[in-house]
Amino acid sequence: MSIRRHPFAASLSLLILIFLWLPLVVVAVNSLNSETLMASWGGFTTRWFRMAWSDENVRSGLKTTLLIAGASSLLSLVVAVSGALWWRHASPKARAVYDGLIYARIILPEVVFATAIFFLFIKIHFGLGLTAMIIGHTVWNSAYAAIIVQARMAGLDPALEEAAADLGATPWRTFRRVTLSALMPAIIAAGLLAFTFSFDDVVTSLFLQGTAQSPLPVVILGMIRFRITPEINAIGLLVMLFTVAIMSFAVISYATAGALGRSSRRGGGGSMLDMYR
Protein backbone atom coordinates (compact mmCIF):
# COMPACT_ATOMS: atom_id res chain seq x y z
CA MET A 1 0.00 0.00 0.00
CA SER A 2 1.49 3.27 -1.06
CA ILE A 3 1.70 6.23 1.28
CA ARG A 4 -0.59 8.17 -0.97
CA ARG A 5 -3.33 5.58 -0.55
CA HIS A 6 -2.90 5.03 3.16
CA PRO A 7 -6.12 5.82 5.15
CA PHE A 8 -4.11 8.04 7.45
CA ALA A 9 -2.90 10.22 4.56
CA ALA A 10 -6.42 10.42 3.19
CA SER A 11 -7.99 11.44 6.48
CA LEU A 12 -5.23 13.96 7.20
CA SER A 13 -5.79 15.57 3.81
CA LEU A 14 -9.50 15.68 4.46
CA LEU A 15 -8.96 17.32 7.86
CA ILE A 16 -6.67 19.93 6.37
CA LEU A 17 -9.15 20.67 3.61
CA ILE A 18 -11.94 21.04 6.19
CA PHE A 19 -9.72 23.22 8.33
CA LEU A 20 -9.01 25.48 5.33
CA TRP A 21 -12.48 25.67 3.88
CA LEU A 22 -14.73 25.47 6.91
CA PRO A 23 -14.14 29.08 8.00
CA LEU A 24 -15.08 30.25 4.53
CA VAL A 25 -18.24 28.16 4.61
CA VAL A 26 -19.09 29.52 8.05
CA VAL A 27 -18.61 33.07 6.78
CA ALA A 28 -20.83 32.40 3.80
CA VAL A 29 -23.56 30.78 5.89
CA ASN A 30 -23.52 33.44 8.60
CA SER A 31 -23.70 36.25 6.06
CA LEU A 32 -27.24 34.97 5.39
CA ASN A 33 -28.03 34.12 9.02
CA SER A 34 -30.51 36.41 10.79
CA GLU A 35 -29.21 35.34 14.21
CA THR A 36 -26.96 38.22 15.36
CA LEU A 37 -24.79 36.15 17.69
CA MET A 38 -24.10 33.65 14.88
CA ALA A 39 -24.38 30.79 17.37
CA SER A 40 -27.29 29.12 15.65
CA TRP A 41 -29.33 29.37 12.42
CA GLY A 42 -31.99 32.01 12.92
CA GLY A 43 -33.42 32.06 9.44
CA PHE A 44 -32.50 33.54 6.07
CA THR A 45 -31.86 37.27 5.73
CA THR A 46 -30.17 39.74 3.39
CA ARG A 47 -30.08 42.32 6.16
CA TRP A 48 -26.30 42.16 6.64
CA PHE A 49 -25.67 42.87 2.99
CA ARG A 50 -27.93 45.93 3.14
CA MET A 51 -26.22 47.01 6.35
CA ALA A 52 -22.76 46.64 4.85
CA TRP A 53 -23.77 48.53 1.75
CA SER A 54 -25.12 51.45 3.75
CA ASP A 55 -22.08 51.58 6.08
CA GLU A 56 -20.27 54.78 5.14
CA ASN A 57 -16.95 53.46 6.42
CA VAL A 58 -17.23 50.32 4.28
CA ARG A 59 -18.27 52.27 1.19
CA SER A 60 -15.38 54.72 1.28
CA GLY A 61 -13.04 51.83 2.12
CA LEU A 62 -14.22 50.01 -1.01
CA LYS A 63 -13.82 53.18 -3.07
CA THR A 64 -10.23 53.61 -1.85
CA THR A 65 -9.46 49.95 -2.49
CA LEU A 66 -10.79 50.08 -6.04
CA LEU A 67 -8.82 53.26 -6.69
CA ILE A 68 -5.58 51.78 -5.35
CA ALA A 69 -6.10 48.44 -7.09
CA GLY A 70 -6.98 50.11 -10.38
CA ALA A 71 -4.13 52.61 -10.33
CA SER A 72 -1.48 50.18 -9.11
CA SER A 73 -2.42 47.47 -11.60
CA LEU A 74 -2.27 49.99 -14.46
CA LEU A 75 1.12 51.23 -13.24
CA SER A 76 2.27 47.63 -12.85
CA LEU A 77 1.35 46.94 -16.48
CA VAL A 78 3.32 49.96 -17.68
CA VAL A 79 6.33 48.77 -15.69
CA ALA A 80 5.90 45.15 -16.84
CA VAL A 81 5.39 45.89 -20.56
CA SER A 82 8.16 48.45 -20.86
CA GLY A 83 10.42 46.12 -18.89
CA ALA A 84 9.59 43.22 -21.20
CA LEU A 85 10.28 45.36 -24.29
CA TRP A 86 13.67 46.29 -22.90
CA TRP A 87 14.33 42.72 -21.73
CA ARG A 88 14.05 41.29 -25.23
CA HIS A 89 17.01 43.27 -26.52
CA ALA A 90 19.03 43.32 -23.28
CA SER A 91 22.31 41.49 -22.74
CA PRO A 92 22.13 38.17 -20.86
CA LYS A 93 23.82 39.79 -17.85
CA ALA A 94 21.37 42.67 -17.68
CA ARG A 95 18.51 40.20 -18.07
CA ALA A 96 19.75 38.15 -15.14
CA VAL A 97 19.87 41.24 -12.93
CA TYR A 98 16.41 42.30 -14.03
CA ASP A 99 14.97 38.81 -13.44
CA GLY A 100 16.66 38.67 -10.06
CA LEU A 101 15.03 41.93 -9.03
CA ILE A 102 11.64 40.55 -10.05
CA TYR A 103 12.03 37.36 -8.05
CA ALA A 104 13.35 39.30 -5.07
CA ARG A 105 10.12 41.30 -5.02
CA ILE A 106 8.12 38.08 -4.96
CA ILE A 107 10.23 36.12 -2.48
CA LEU A 108 11.02 38.81 0.10
CA PRO A 109 8.31 39.15 2.77
CA GLU A 110 5.86 41.91 2.07
CA VAL A 111 6.36 43.35 5.53
CA VAL A 112 10.03 43.95 4.73
CA PHE A 113 9.16 45.92 1.63
CA ALA A 114 6.40 47.80 3.39
CA THR A 115 8.76 48.81 6.19
CA ALA A 116 11.50 49.80 3.76
CA ILE A 117 9.17 51.94 1.67
CA PHE A 118 7.71 53.42 4.83
CA PHE A 119 11.15 54.54 6.03
CA LEU A 120 12.12 55.72 2.58
CA PHE A 121 9.03 57.92 2.27
CA ILE A 122 9.56 59.34 5.77
CA LYS A 123 13.21 60.06 4.92
CA ILE A 124 12.44 61.88 1.67
CA HIS A 125 9.39 63.58 3.19
CA PHE A 126 7.03 61.94 0.74
CA GLY A 127 3.61 62.18 2.34
CA LEU A 128 1.97 58.90 3.32
CA GLY A 129 -1.52 58.33 1.97
CA LEU A 130 -3.24 57.30 -1.24
CA THR A 131 -0.29 57.92 -3.59
CA ALA A 132 2.13 56.19 -1.23
CA MET A 133 -0.16 53.14 -1.06
CA ILE A 134 -0.46 53.03 -4.86
CA ILE A 135 3.33 53.13 -5.22
CA GLY A 136 3.78 50.51 -2.51
CA HIS A 137 1.33 48.13 -4.16
CA THR A 138 2.97 48.69 -7.54
CA VAL A 139 6.38 47.63 -6.20
CA TRP A 140 5.37 44.01 -5.73
CA ASN A 141 2.38 43.88 -8.10
CA SER A 142 4.62 44.80 -11.02
CA ALA A 143 6.79 41.76 -10.30
CA TYR A 144 3.89 39.36 -10.91
CA ALA A 145 2.77 41.33 -13.95
CA ALA A 146 6.32 41.28 -15.33
CA ILE A 147 6.60 37.50 -15.10
CA ILE A 148 3.36 36.96 -17.00
CA VAL A 149 4.05 39.55 -19.71
CA GLN A 150 7.64 38.40 -20.15
CA ALA A 151 6.62 34.78 -20.64
CA ARG A 152 4.50 35.79 -23.59
CA MET A 153 7.09 38.18 -24.95
CA ALA A 154 9.62 35.35 -24.99
CA GLY A 155 7.30 33.35 -27.26
CA LEU A 156 6.79 36.21 -29.69
CA ASP A 157 8.38 35.69 -33.12
CA PRO A 158 10.61 38.73 -33.74
CA ALA A 159 9.88 38.26 -37.45
CA LEU A 160 6.33 39.53 -36.78
CA GLU A 161 7.64 43.00 -36.02
CA GLU A 162 10.04 42.87 -38.93
CA ALA A 163 7.13 41.89 -41.15
CA ALA A 164 5.13 44.90 -39.96
CA ALA A 165 8.07 47.23 -40.63
CA ASP A 166 8.58 45.57 -44.00
CA LEU A 167 4.95 46.34 -44.83
CA GLY A 168 5.44 50.02 -44.09
CA ALA A 169 4.51 50.32 -40.41
CA THR A 170 6.52 52.86 -38.43
CA PRO A 171 7.98 51.63 -35.10
CA TRP A 172 5.05 53.13 -33.19
CA ARG A 173 2.46 51.60 -35.54
CA THR A 174 4.28 48.26 -35.34
CA PHE A 175 4.15 48.40 -31.56
CA ARG A 176 0.44 49.17 -31.56
CA ARG A 177 -0.73 46.89 -34.36
CA VAL A 178 1.52 43.90 -33.69
CA THR A 179 3.49 43.82 -30.44
CA LEU A 180 0.77 45.09 -28.13
CA SER A 181 -1.88 42.97 -29.85
CA ALA A 182 0.19 39.86 -29.43
CA LEU A 183 0.84 40.64 -25.77
CA MET A 184 -2.78 41.52 -25.03
CA PRO A 185 -3.83 38.19 -23.42
CA ALA A 186 -0.88 38.39 -21.04
CA ILE A 187 -1.56 42.06 -20.33
CA ILE A 188 -5.17 41.34 -19.44
CA ALA A 189 -4.27 38.39 -17.23
CA ALA A 190 -1.45 40.31 -15.51
CA GLY A 191 -3.67 43.33 -14.93
CA LEU A 192 -6.44 41.24 -13.35
CA LEU A 193 -3.97 39.35 -11.16
CA ALA A 194 -2.37 42.57 -9.95
CA PHE A 195 -5.83 43.99 -9.31
CA THR A 196 -6.90 41.12 -7.04
CA PHE A 197 -3.60 41.08 -5.18
CA SER A 198 -3.91 44.77 -4.52
CA PHE A 199 -7.61 44.41 -3.65
CA ASP A 200 -7.03 42.26 -0.56
CA ASP A 201 -3.73 43.74 0.61
CA VAL A 202 -3.46 44.73 4.25
CA VAL A 203 0.23 44.92 5.14
CA THR A 204 1.49 47.49 2.64
CA SER A 205 -1.65 49.61 3.06
CA LEU A 206 -1.34 49.62 6.84
CA PHE A 207 2.23 50.90 6.67
CA LEU A 208 1.66 53.53 4.02
CA GLN A 209 -1.86 54.82 4.55
CA GLY A 210 -0.91 57.58 6.97
CA THR A 211 -3.98 59.58 7.85
CA ALA A 212 -5.75 58.81 4.57
CA GLN A 213 -8.94 56.78 4.24
CA SER A 214 -8.22 53.08 4.84
CA PRO A 215 -8.82 50.63 2.03
CA LEU A 216 -11.46 47.94 2.59
CA PRO A 217 -9.26 45.14 4.00
CA VAL A 218 -7.88 47.55 6.61
CA VAL A 219 -11.42 48.70 7.39
CA ILE A 220 -12.46 45.07 7.97
CA LEU A 221 -9.46 44.52 10.22
CA GLY A 222 -10.51 47.57 12.24
CA MET A 223 -14.09 46.31 12.44
CA ILE A 224 -13.26 42.90 13.92
CA ARG A 225 -10.98 44.49 16.47
CA PHE A 226 -13.89 46.58 17.60
CA ARG A 227 -16.71 44.05 17.47
CA ILE A 228 -17.58 41.10 15.28
CA THR A 229 -20.83 41.63 13.46
CA PRO A 230 -22.56 39.54 10.80
CA GLU A 231 -22.01 42.51 8.52
CA ILE A 232 -18.36 41.44 8.22
CA ASN A 233 -19.50 38.06 6.96
CA ALA A 234 -21.50 39.74 4.22
CA ILE A 235 -18.50 41.85 3.19
CA GLY A 236 -16.28 38.77 3.35
CA LEU A 237 -18.55 36.76 1.07
CA LEU A 238 -18.76 39.59 -1.47
CA VAL A 239 -15.00 40.10 -1.52
CA MET A 240 -14.54 36.34 -1.95
CA LEU A 241 -16.95 36.12 -4.85
CA PHE A 242 -15.49 39.21 -6.49
CA THR A 243 -11.93 37.91 -6.24
CA VAL A 244 -12.80 34.43 -7.47
CA ALA A 245 -14.68 35.91 -10.42
CA ILE A 246 -11.76 38.09 -11.46
CA MET A 247 -9.20 35.33 -11.02
CA SER A 248 -11.28 32.84 -12.98
CA PHE A 249 -11.60 35.33 -15.81
CA ALA A 250 -7.84 35.95 -15.78
CA VAL A 251 -6.95 32.27 -15.72
CA ILE A 252 -9.47 31.28 -18.37
CA SER A 253 -8.53 34.10 -20.73
CA TYR A 254 -4.82 33.40 -20.42
CA ALA A 255 -5.21 29.63 -20.69
CA THR A 256 -7.34 29.99 -23.81
CA ALA A 257 -4.92 32.36 -25.46
CA GLY A 258 -1.98 30.25 -24.32
CA ALA A 259 -3.40 27.08 -25.81
CA LEU A 260 -4.05 28.83 -29.11
CA GLY A 261 -0.61 30.35 -28.98
CA ARG A 262 0.93 26.92 -28.73
CA SER A 263 -1.07 25.57 -31.63
CA SER A 264 0.41 28.25 -33.88
CA ARG A 265 3.95 28.60 -32.62
CA ARG A 266 4.84 31.02 -35.34
CA GLY A 267 3.65 34.00 -33.44
CA GLY A 268 1.47 33.18 -30.50
CA GLY A 269 -1.86 34.86 -30.59
CA GLY A 270 -5.30 33.77 -29.59
CA SER A 271 -8.90 34.60 -29.14
CA MET A 272 -8.26 37.31 -26.56
CA LEU A 273 -6.57 39.27 -29.31
CA ASP A 274 -9.84 39.53 -31.15
CA MET A 275 -11.24 41.98 -28.67
CA TYR A 276 -8.34 44.28 -29.32
CA ARG A 277 -9.10 44.80 -32.98
Binding site: A159, A163, A165, L167, A169, T170, L260, G268, G269
Partner: protein, 357 residues
Protein backbone atom coordinates in the same frame (compact mmCIF):
# COMPACT_ATOMS: atom_id res chain seq x y z
CA UNK B 1 23.92 52.22 -64.96
CA UNK B 2 21.32 52.23 -62.24
CA UNK B 3 18.48 50.64 -64.13
CA UNK B 4 19.14 47.54 -62.05
CA UNK B 5 16.37 46.69 -59.57
CA UNK B 6 18.99 46.14 -56.89
CA UNK B 7 22.55 47.36 -57.11
CA UNK B 8 24.85 46.18 -54.33
CA UNK B 9 28.14 48.05 -54.40
CA UNK B 10 31.19 46.97 -52.41
CA UNK B 11 29.05 45.92 -49.45
CA UNK B 12 30.64 44.45 -46.38
CA UNK B 13 28.86 43.38 -43.22
CA UNK B 14 30.54 42.56 -39.92
CA UNK B 15 28.95 41.33 -36.71
CA UNK B 16 31.69 42.03 -34.21
CA UNK B 17 34.63 39.90 -35.33
CA UNK B 18 32.53 37.86 -37.71
CA UNK B 19 32.53 38.94 -41.33
CA UNK B 20 29.16 37.86 -42.72
CA UNK B 21 29.53 39.44 -46.18
CA UNK B 22 32.86 40.43 -47.78
CA UNK B 23 33.04 43.05 -50.48
CA UNK B 24 29.93 42.05 -52.38
CA UNK B 25 29.15 43.53 -55.79
CA UNK B 26 25.88 42.32 -57.24
CA UNK B 27 23.34 43.72 -59.68
CA UNK B 28 19.86 42.27 -59.94
CA UNK B 29 18.14 43.21 -63.19
CA UNK B 30 14.58 44.50 -63.18
CA UNK B 31 12.05 41.74 -63.79
CA UNK B 32 14.36 38.78 -63.32
CA UNK B 33 14.03 35.81 -60.98
CA UNK B 34 17.29 36.03 -59.11
CA UNK B 35 18.46 33.52 -56.51
CA UNK B 36 21.21 33.60 -53.96
CA UNK B 37 22.32 30.13 -52.89
CA UNK B 38 24.95 28.81 -50.54
CA UNK B 39 25.38 26.75 -47.38
CA UNK B 40 24.15 28.14 -44.07
CA UNK B 41 26.36 30.94 -42.82
CA UNK B 42 27.44 31.96 -46.32
CA UNK B 43 25.94 35.45 -45.99
CA UNK B 44 22.93 35.01 -48.27
CA UNK B 45 20.30 35.80 -45.65
CA UNK B 46 22.37 38.72 -44.34
CA UNK B 47 22.49 40.08 -47.89
CA UNK B 48 18.71 39.79 -48.18
CA UNK B 49 18.22 41.47 -44.81
CA UNK B 50 20.47 44.34 -45.88
CA UNK B 51 18.34 44.87 -49.01
CA UNK B 52 15.21 44.84 -46.81
CA UNK B 53 16.83 47.25 -44.37
CA UNK B 54 16.83 44.98 -41.29
CA UNK B 55 20.62 45.15 -41.24
CA UNK B 56 22.84 48.06 -42.23
CA UNK B 57 25.99 47.37 -44.27
CA UNK B 58 29.21 48.05 -42.36
CA UNK B 59 30.48 49.64 -45.56
CA UNK B 60 29.34 49.98 -49.16
CA UNK B 61 26.00 51.03 -50.57
CA UNK B 62 22.81 49.39 -51.75
CA UNK B 63 20.55 50.94 -54.38
CA UNK B 64 16.98 49.82 -54.98
CA UNK B 65 15.33 51.06 -58.17
CA UNK B 66 18.19 53.53 -58.57
CA UNK B 67 17.76 55.21 -55.17
CA UNK B 68 20.34 54.85 -52.48
CA UNK B 69 19.03 53.00 -49.43
CA UNK B 70 21.68 54.01 -46.90
CA UNK B 71 19.89 55.26 -43.79
CA UNK B 72 16.46 54.40 -45.20
CA UNK B 73 14.44 52.43 -42.62
CA UNK B 74 12.70 49.19 -43.67
CA UNK B 75 9.24 50.80 -43.62
CA UNK B 76 10.34 53.38 -46.20
CA UNK B 77 11.88 50.92 -48.67
CA UNK B 78 10.14 49.89 -51.91
CA UNK B 79 10.72 46.20 -51.19
CA UNK B 80 8.65 43.55 -49.45
CA UNK B 81 9.72 40.29 -47.86
CA UNK B 82 8.31 36.78 -47.65
CA UNK B 83 9.71 35.45 -44.40
CA UNK B 84 10.91 31.91 -43.79
CA UNK B 85 8.46 31.59 -40.88
CA UNK B 86 5.85 33.53 -42.97
CA UNK B 87 5.41 35.83 -39.93
CA UNK B 88 1.66 36.11 -40.53
CA UNK B 89 -0.11 38.21 -37.91
CA UNK B 90 -1.97 35.64 -35.79
CA UNK B 91 -4.57 38.13 -34.55
CA UNK B 92 -5.61 39.21 -38.04
CA UNK B 93 -7.53 37.20 -40.62
CA UNK B 94 -6.30 36.52 -44.15
CA UNK B 95 -7.91 39.67 -45.54
CA UNK B 96 -6.41 41.96 -42.89
CA UNK B 97 -3.02 40.27 -43.14
CA UNK B 98 -2.93 40.98 -46.86
CA UNK B 99 -4.34 44.49 -46.35
CA UNK B 100 -1.77 45.36 -43.68
CA UNK B 101 0.65 47.17 -45.99
CA UNK B 102 -2.15 48.95 -47.88
CA UNK B 103 -3.62 50.26 -44.64
CA UNK B 104 -0.17 51.53 -43.57
CA UNK B 105 0.08 53.28 -46.94
CA UNK B 106 -3.37 54.84 -46.30
CA UNK B 107 -4.90 53.38 -49.43
CA UNK B 108 -8.64 54.13 -49.70
CA UNK B 109 -11.16 51.54 -48.48
CA UNK B 110 -12.53 50.63 -51.91
CA UNK B 111 -9.01 50.33 -53.31
CA UNK B 112 -7.95 48.09 -50.42
CA UNK B 113 -10.88 45.77 -51.13
CA UNK B 114 -10.13 45.62 -54.84
CA UNK B 115 -6.39 45.06 -54.46
CA UNK B 116 -6.74 42.47 -51.71
CA UNK B 117 -9.32 40.61 -53.82
CA UNK B 118 -6.90 40.69 -56.73
CA UNK B 119 -4.05 39.38 -54.57
CA UNK B 120 -6.27 36.69 -53.07
CA UNK B 121 -7.22 35.40 -56.51
CA UNK B 122 -3.59 35.60 -57.66
CA UNK B 123 -2.62 33.07 -54.97
CA UNK B 124 -5.89 31.12 -55.28
CA UNK B 125 -7.19 31.67 -51.78
CA UNK B 126 -10.72 32.76 -52.68
CA UNK B 127 -13.14 31.97 -49.88
CA UNK B 128 -10.48 31.92 -47.14
CA UNK B 129 -10.44 35.68 -46.56
CA UNK B 130 -11.91 35.40 -43.08
CA UNK B 131 -9.77 32.52 -41.87
CA UNK B 132 -7.09 33.02 -39.26
CA UNK B 133 -3.52 31.99 -40.17
CA UNK B 134 -3.63 29.08 -37.71
CA UNK B 135 -6.63 27.63 -39.54
CA UNK B 136 -4.65 27.37 -42.78
CA UNK B 137 -2.31 24.64 -44.00
CA UNK B 138 1.38 25.39 -44.42
CA UNK B 139 1.00 25.86 -48.17
CA UNK B 140 -1.92 28.23 -47.71
CA UNK B 141 -0.04 30.26 -45.09
CA UNK B 142 2.82 30.48 -47.54
CA UNK B 143 0.49 31.88 -50.21
CA UNK B 144 -0.95 34.44 -47.77
CA UNK B 145 2.60 35.60 -47.03
CA UNK B 146 3.20 35.95 -50.78
CA UNK B 147 -0.03 37.87 -51.35
CA UNK B 148 0.64 40.12 -48.36
CA UNK B 149 3.97 41.13 -49.87
CA UNK B 150 2.95 41.33 -53.54
CA UNK B 151 -0.20 43.39 -52.93
CA UNK B 152 2.04 46.39 -52.18
CA UNK B 153 3.54 46.19 -55.70
CA UNK B 154 7.13 46.28 -54.48
CA UNK B 155 10.03 47.06 -56.80
CA UNK B 156 11.65 43.88 -55.52
CA UNK B 157 10.15 40.90 -53.72
CA UNK B 158 12.60 39.34 -51.27
CA UNK B 159 12.01 35.67 -50.42
CA UNK B 160 13.90 34.08 -47.54
CA UNK B 161 13.73 30.29 -47.92
CA UNK B 162 9.95 30.52 -48.24
CA UNK B 163 9.47 26.84 -49.07
CA UNK B 164 11.73 25.48 -46.34
CA UNK B 165 8.89 24.46 -44.03
CA UNK B 166 6.85 22.60 -46.66
CA UNK B 167 6.99 18.90 -47.47
CA UNK B 168 8.65 17.77 -50.68
CA UNK B 169 5.52 17.34 -52.83
CA UNK B 170 4.11 20.72 -51.85
CA UNK B 171 7.50 22.32 -52.32
CA UNK B 172 7.72 21.08 -55.89
CA UNK B 173 4.20 22.34 -56.63
CA UNK B 174 4.98 25.73 -55.08
CA UNK B 175 8.18 26.03 -57.14
CA UNK B 176 6.31 25.97 -60.42
CA UNK B 177 3.56 28.20 -58.98
CA UNK B 178 6.15 30.75 -57.84
CA UNK B 179 7.78 30.80 -61.26
CA UNK B 180 4.39 31.29 -62.95
CA UNK B 181 3.50 34.00 -60.44
CA UNK B 182 6.72 35.85 -61.08
CA UNK B 183 6.08 35.80 -64.85
CA UNK B 184 2.50 37.01 -64.32
CA UNK B 185 3.27 39.94 -62.05
CA UNK B 186 6.65 40.80 -63.58
CA UNK B 187 8.07 41.83 -60.22
CA UNK B 188 11.79 41.29 -59.61
CA UNK B 189 12.23 38.31 -57.28
CA UNK B 190 15.27 37.91 -55.10
CA UNK B 191 15.13 34.41 -53.70
CA UNK B 192 17.41 33.03 -51.00
CA UNK B 193 17.75 29.28 -50.49
CA UNK B 194 20.25 26.61 -49.52
CA UNK B 195 18.53 24.20 -51.92
CA UNK B 196 20.28 24.42 -55.28
CA UNK B 197 17.64 22.30 -57.00
CA UNK B 198 14.97 24.78 -55.97
CA UNK B 199 17.02 27.71 -57.27
CA UNK B 200 17.79 25.89 -60.55
CA UNK B 201 14.15 25.13 -61.28
CA UNK B 202 13.01 28.75 -60.97
CA UNK B 203 15.84 31.21 -61.49
CA UNK B 204 16.96 33.27 -64.44
CA UNK B 205 20.26 33.91 -62.72
CA UNK B 206 21.91 32.57 -59.58
CA UNK B 207 24.57 33.93 -57.26
CA UNK B 208 26.50 31.27 -55.33
CA UNK B 209 27.94 32.50 -52.04
CA UNK B 210 30.35 30.87 -49.62
CA UNK B 211 31.90 32.26 -46.42
CA UNK B 212 30.63 35.76 -47.21
CA UNK B 213 32.10 35.79 -50.70
CA UNK B 214 30.39 35.70 -54.07
CA UNK B 215 31.77 32.54 -55.70
CA UNK B 216 29.93 32.73 -59.01
CA UNK B 217 27.17 34.62 -60.76
CA UNK B 218 25.44 33.19 -63.79
CA UNK B 219 22.56 31.29 -65.33
CA UNK B 220 21.80 27.85 -63.88
CA UNK B 221 23.38 26.23 -66.98
CA UNK B 222 26.58 28.23 -66.63
CA UNK B 223 26.87 27.43 -62.97
CA UNK B 224 26.22 23.73 -63.45
CA UNK B 225 28.34 23.11 -66.53
CA UNK B 226 31.02 25.75 -66.05
CA UNK B 227 31.51 26.16 -62.29
CA UNK B 228 34.01 28.85 -61.32
CA UNK B 229 35.51 27.03 -58.36
CA UNK B 230 35.80 23.67 -56.69
CA UNK B 231 33.28 24.87 -54.11
CA UNK B 232 30.65 25.69 -56.73
CA UNK B 233 31.27 22.39 -58.55
CA UNK B 234 30.68 20.49 -55.31
CA UNK B 235 27.82 22.59 -53.94
CA UNK B 236 25.83 22.49 -57.13
CA UNK B 237 25.01 18.86 -57.86
CA UNK B 238 27.57 16.08 -57.69
CA UNK B 239 31.00 16.43 -59.22
CA UNK B 240 33.85 14.05 -59.97
CA UNK B 241 37.01 16.09 -59.55
CA UNK B 242 40.46 15.08 -60.76
CA UNK B 243 43.56 17.03 -59.80
CA UNK B 244 46.05 18.04 -62.46
CA UNK B 245 48.43 20.65 -63.83
CA UNK B 246 48.05 22.77 -66.96
CA UNK B 247 50.77 22.02 -69.49
CA UNK B 248 49.69 24.42 -72.19
CA UNK B 249 46.53 25.92 -73.48
CA UNK B 250 44.84 28.38 -75.72
CA UNK B 251 41.33 29.39 -76.83
CA UNK B 252 39.66 27.95 -73.79
CA UNK B 253 40.94 24.40 -74.25
CA UNK B 254 43.90 23.40 -72.17
CA UNK B 255 46.18 20.45 -72.21
CA UNK B 256 46.14 19.13 -68.67
CA UNK B 257 48.32 16.49 -67.04
CA UNK B 258 45.81 14.70 -64.81
CA UNK B 259 47.42 12.93 -61.87
CA UNK B 260 47.44 9.20 -62.54
CA UNK B 261 45.69 9.46 -65.90
CA UNK B 262 47.88 11.25 -68.35
CA UNK B 263 47.47 14.29 -70.51
CA UNK B 264 44.00 15.24 -71.74
CA UNK B 265 42.41 18.20 -73.48
CA UNK B 266 39.99 19.95 -71.14
CA UNK B 267 37.93 23.11 -71.76
CA UNK B 268 38.14 25.81 -69.12
CA UNK B 269 37.83 29.52 -68.47
CA UNK B 270 40.20 31.90 -70.25
CA UNK B 271 43.28 33.14 -68.49
CA UNK B 272 44.61 30.05 -66.74
CA UNK B 273 48.43 30.05 -66.78
CA UNK B 274 50.55 27.07 -67.74
CA UNK B 275 51.89 25.28 -64.71
CA UNK B 276 48.92 26.18 -62.49
CA UNK B 277 47.17 23.51 -60.45
CA UNK B 278 43.66 22.77 -61.59
CA UNK B 279 40.79 20.45 -60.92
CA UNK B 280 38.97 18.69 -63.76
CA UNK B 281 35.23 18.50 -63.12
CA UNK B 282 33.16 15.76 -64.76
CA UNK B 283 29.46 15.49 -63.86
CA UNK B 284 28.17 11.96 -63.07
CA UNK B 285 25.90 11.90 -66.14
CA UNK B 286 28.95 12.62 -68.31
CA UNK B 287 31.03 9.84 -66.87
CA UNK B 288 30.22 6.82 -69.05
CA UNK B 289 30.79 3.21 -68.06
CA UNK B 290 31.94 0.64 -70.60
CA UNK B 291 31.56 -2.96 -69.42
CA UNK B 292 34.23 -4.33 -71.75
CA UNK B 293 37.68 -2.90 -71.34
CA UNK B 294 38.18 -0.84 -74.47
CA UNK B 295 41.43 -0.85 -76.33
CA UNK B 296 43.08 2.52 -76.18
CA UNK B 297 40.75 5.51 -76.10
CA UNK B 298 40.62 7.36 -72.84
CA UNK B 299 39.11 4.51 -70.85
CA UNK B 300 40.28 4.21 -67.25
CA UNK B 301 40.05 1.09 -65.17
CA UNK B 302 37.65 1.21 -62.23
CA UNK B 303 35.69 -1.20 -60.04
CA UNK B 304 31.98 -1.02 -59.32
CA UNK B 305 31.32 -0.46 -55.61
CA UNK B 306 27.53 -0.39 -55.64
CA UNK B 307 24.55 0.90 -57.56
CA UNK B 308 21.49 2.86 -56.53
CA UNK B 309 18.23 2.89 -58.47
CA UNK B 310 16.61 6.34 -58.30
CA UNK B 311 13.66 5.87 -60.65
CA UNK B 312 14.49 8.03 -63.62
CA UNK B 313 18.17 7.23 -63.40
CA UNK B 314 20.67 4.87 -61.88
CA UNK B 315 23.73 5.94 -59.97
CA UNK B 316 26.85 3.81 -59.89
CA UNK B 317 29.58 4.34 -57.32
CA UNK B 318 32.99 3.29 -58.52
CA UNK B 319 36.51 3.13 -57.22
CA UNK B 320 39.56 3.70 -59.30
CA UNK B 321 43.11 3.11 -58.18
CA UNK B 322 44.17 6.23 -60.01
CA UNK B 323 41.23 8.57 -59.44
CA UNK B 324 39.72 7.50 -56.12
CA UNK B 325 35.94 7.42 -55.66
CA UNK B 326 33.80 8.19 -58.70
CA UNK B 327 30.10 8.57 -59.38
CA UNK B 328 28.41 7.84 -62.65
CA UNK B 329 24.75 8.16 -63.45
CA UNK B 330 22.73 7.13 -66.46
CA UNK B 331 19.13 7.05 -67.57
CA UNK B 332 17.45 4.11 -69.19
CA UNK B 333 17.22 0.39 -68.64
CA UNK B 334 19.85 -2.30 -68.95
CA UNK B 335 21.17 -4.60 -66.26
CA UNK B 336 22.86 -2.95 -63.30
CA UNK B 337 26.58 -3.76 -63.09
CA UNK B 338 27.38 -6.13 -60.24
CA UNK B 339 29.53 -4.80 -57.42
CA UNK B 340 33.11 -5.84 -57.97
CA UNK B 341 32.86 -5.76 -61.77
CA UNK B 342 35.90 -4.30 -63.48
CA UNK B 343 34.83 -1.62 -65.94
CA UNK B 344 36.19 1.26 -67.97
CA UNK B 345 35.09 4.84 -67.43
CA UNK B 346 35.30 7.52 -70.09
CA UNK B 347 34.16 11.07 -70.73
CA UNK B 348 33.95 13.17 -73.85
CA UNK B 349 36.42 16.04 -73.93
CA UNK B 350 33.77 18.77 -74.14
CA UNK B 351 31.94 17.34 -71.09
CA UNK B 352 34.73 18.20 -68.66
CA UNK B 353 35.50 21.62 -67.19
CA UNK B 354 38.52 23.13 -65.48
CA UNK B 355 38.43 24.99 -62.19
CA UNK B 356 41.39 26.47 -60.33
CA UNK B 357 42.58 24.14 -57.58
Amino acid sequence: MSDAAVDIRAVEKRFGDLVAVRHLDLRIQAGEFFSIIGPSGCGKTTTLRMIAGFEDPTSGTILVGGSEMTGVRPYRRPVNTVFQSYALFPHLDVFENIAFGLREARVGKADVRARVAEAVSLVQLEGRENARPRQLSGGQQQRVALARALVNRPEVLLLDEPLGALDLKLRTDMQSQLKDLQRTVGVTFCYVTHDQGEAFSMSDRIAVMNLGLLEQLGTPEEIYHRPASQFVADFVGTANQFQGTIESGADGVYSVAIDGVGTRGVPGPAGLASGSKVSVVVRPENLAIAEQPANGGNGLAATVVDTAFLGAERTVRLNSAMLGDLTSSARGAGPAPEPGTAVQVTWAEHHAWLVPA
